[in-house]
């Protein structure tokens, strides 16, 4: 059983076998993402009760918090892939890491944007230098640095390895950054406005947030698989299997 698993793992870690598998999985993840998103949005707008202090504007939380969670998760997953890719020289892991980055940056941006949007009615300002906000901003910088480095290097192999190294350095620093920013803020500002709401959130709200988080996850997986397929084609274009497939495709079209 274990060895079978290991073999399957090994099998699908080669781009050649991964490519068709990903192709088959993508529609499923898209489907799940859409269903969960519909359920989640329905719950956020119609099931969850109106907040007695903030009114309706608080509903943005159902996008904001899952997006903030995703932004951090994705960085961790990306760094994990980077480590695997560098230590075992697995090309597939390198490609997954680079496929994750844009989505991670997108969620970071979404968290910042929804947060800023929310901040105006609640705090009266789009931006305050709060610890959590600041560290989210720094996370965005890390993502952008990762992507810039990758796009600045032409050779795809070198680009993947250099940016993997950067992701690892970043992940070591991330807790230090988070923690120092927190300390910095509490040192300077006694009682600062902080984005924590009522201590006990209604369980319906937690459920809604979890549903939204899962929706985001499914979306992430679908998008990342699609991006990984594109990266595979680009990086493996000189291999025989890609050439065969590219040459075979038009014929398959014609038969249809």
């Amino acid at each position: 059983m274990v060895s079978e698993n290991a073999i399957a793992w090994y099998h699908f870690s080669s781009p050649k076998n991964f490519y068709p598998l990903a192709g088959r999985l993508i529609p499923w993840f898209w489907g799940l993402a859409v269903i969960l998103l519909v359920v989640g949005l329905y719950m956020s707008f119609f099931v969850a009760p109106t907040d007695y202090k903030q009114g309706e504007s608080y509903r943005i939380i159902f996008v904001h918090v899952p997006a903030a969670w995703m932004s951090m998760f994705i960085y961790l997953v990306m760094a994990a892939y980077a480590i695997i890719g560098l230590t075992w020289k697995l090309r597939m892991a390198e490609m997954m890491a680079s496929a994750l980055a844009p989505t991670g940056a997108m969620f970071t941006f979404l968290a910042l944007w929804t947060g800023a949007f929310w901040g105006k009615p609640t705090w009266g300002a789009y931006w305050v230098w709060d610890a959590r906000l600041t560290s989210e901003l720094i996370l965005l910088f890390l993502y952008i640095g990762y992507m810039s480095l990758q796009s600045a290097i032409d050779d795809p192999r070198r680009a993947a390895r250099a940016s993997a190294l950067l992701a690892i350095v970043g992940v070591i620093n991330l807790p230090v950054i988070y923690w120092s920013v927190k300390w910095w803020n509490t040192l300077h500002q006694g009682a600062s406005v902080s984005p924590t709401m009522a201590p006990k959130m209604a369980s319906i709200m937690i459920t809604t947030m979890l549903v939204m988080t899962f929706a985001f996850w499914m979306y992430t997986i679908a998008v990342v698989l699609m991006r990984a397929r594109r990266v595979i084609l680009e990086r493996e274009r000189q291999t025989s299997w890609v050439m065969e497939m590219v040459n075979a495709d038009p014929q398959a079209e014609m038969k249809k």
């Binding site: 560098l86 720094i138 910088f141 890390l142 952008i144 640095g145 810039s148 480095l149 600045a152 290097i153 050779d155 192999r157 070198r158 390895r161 250099a162 190294l165 950067l166 690892i168 350095v169 970043g170 070591i172 620093n173 230090v176 950054i177 120092s180 920013v181 300390w183 910095w184 040192l187 300077h188």
Partner: protein
């Protein structure tokens, strides 16, 4: 034998880079000059009121030191890369990470240390008191080597990359933030009579950690970049 050849290599590397730095004395002075100018721009750009200046002084000096150190990083490996000497270094029969550490040390001697020594003057200009000035020097002494060590990773990663100079700042500046926060935090704490030892020991811990870890990362990055 191995140990003695390692220390011989260390000495050779440091003396090579110091010789080169002396040949381009102008370069070393630029870093210093940049530091001074950035700090002096603030009274001009912000406001000449002493009260305001004093309150922003630690932040301004630290940010200036951080930018100056980052700028000087551009040249840490790029010259060696372009003329092919870096290639030759990768082919030396000694561990690359030790070599890298020696290079960073030499670099700090000519670009970090002078900032530390100059900072009291600038602190005075911005109206810091003597306690603040002493603490500023101590934090810079602990912090600038960390900046150089972290920066080396970024410099190695962006070697030969188009527009590497500015890219390096994008990669490295977010990683500098903890050092900045604890550096200025200590000075602020001292000037407001609070306890600052926690900050200092954290800075020390950063230093130890980065001496141990970053040379490995830099060495790996160099191997990737030279491909």
């Amino acid at each position: 034998m191995n140990q003695s050849s390692l220390s011989g290599m260390w000495r050779a590397m440091v003396s090579r880079d110091l010789t080169l730095a002396m040949r381009r004395r102008a370069d070393v002075l630029t870093t210093l000059f940049f530091f001074i100018i950035v700090v002096s721009l603030f009274p001009l750009g912000v406001s000449p009121e002493m009260e305001l200046l004093r309150s922003i002084a630690p932040g301004v000096i630290w940010v200036a030191a951080l930018l100056a150190s980052m700028l000087s990083l551009g040249r840490l490996f790029s010259d060696d890369f372009q003329d092919g000497t870096l290639e030759q270094m990768l082919l030396l029969p000694q561990p690359l990470s030790v070599l890298v550490l020696a290079k960073v040390f030499a670099h700090w001697l000519v670009s970090g240390l002078p900032l530390v020594l100059l900072s009291p003057l600038l602190g005075m200009q911005l109206g810091l008191d003597s306690d603040g000035i002493v603490l500023m020097m101590v934090t810079l002494l602990l912090g600038t080597p960390v900046l150089s060590l972290i920066g080396a990773v970024g410099a190695a990663l962006t070697l030969g990359v188009r527009g590497g100079g500015v890219l390096v700042s994008l990669l490295v500046l977010p990683l500098y933030i903890p050092v900045l926060i604890f550096g200025t935090g200590a000075v602020d704490a001292a000037t407001s009579g609070m306890d600052y030892e926690g900050h200092l020991s954290l800075l020390g811990a950063f230093l130890v950690l980065s001496v141990v870890l970053t040379p490995l990362g830099t060495a790996a990055a160099l191997r990737i970049s030279v491909e």
